[in-house]
Symmetry: C2
Amino acid sequence: MSEKEPVLEQCDYMHLHENVIEQVQEEMPEEEILYDLAELFKVFGDSTRIKILYVLFQSEMCVCDIAQLLNMSQSAISHQLRVLKQAQLVKYRREGKTVFYSLADAHVNTILNQGLEHIEE
Amino acid sequence: MSEKEPVLEQCDYMHLHENVIEQVQEEMPEEEILYDLAELFKVFGDSTRIKILYVLFQSEMCVCDIAQLLNMSQSAISHQLRVLKQAQLVKYRREGKTVFYSLADAHVNTILNQGLEHIEE
DNA sequence: CATTCATATGAATAATTGTTCATATATTTA
DNA sequence: TAAATATATGAACAATTATTCATATGAATG
């Protein structure tokens, strides 16, 4: 019953210098942060949500107005607003039967603009 | 056989002023741009790819080194590098058997940092 | 030119996700 | 309190996607 080394599937040697490896491990944000970061960008990774963010950049708006502007169902928009809300990208206030949504902070626009700059190269 | 209006599932009236509606339609980037933008952020929306971008921020690196640093299979990393390459977020150069990857431009870091700032609120 | 090493890639699978449909909740008004 | 309106939400389904596994490609080397 000879024990076999698990196949580590590594290259023969690393090209990186020791100090770069250390540097990477130091500078790398924590696992949880990286996960949250990916979660945040995932929210931007849907064109419906991008559109919602763009229209909200123009003005505070209720769910129904957004749905009409984007020509989508109330339900679809509501579901997506929930995602945006959870990511704290939008905030809302209630006024009677109507709920008005607006952008949560300035980062939203910066992120969108950086993205635009990138794809416009 | 009375014809029924299709249920448009709209609100009774829009809250928005005409000029806001116009404004939205003017300012809104084209459908294709919005789609590309979502595609770009989708690429950031995965923690493996986020990690790859972070390590590449420290230094140019070959596929195998990245795999070892992140403790993932060569194949998984290679697949993800392809996604990053297609989004023009990384570039590469070949040196013999080895392929070295590096960040394509400065936007990558700006976008990541804006994301970080947002989640650290 | 056969072998080895580094990387790429196609197929398969499991997991995630966006929309729809039906319905629930909340608020106002008759 | 019943009806109407605006919004939210759960379930279902189709579509997308990240990883694994097996294998292919490409480059150096004996």
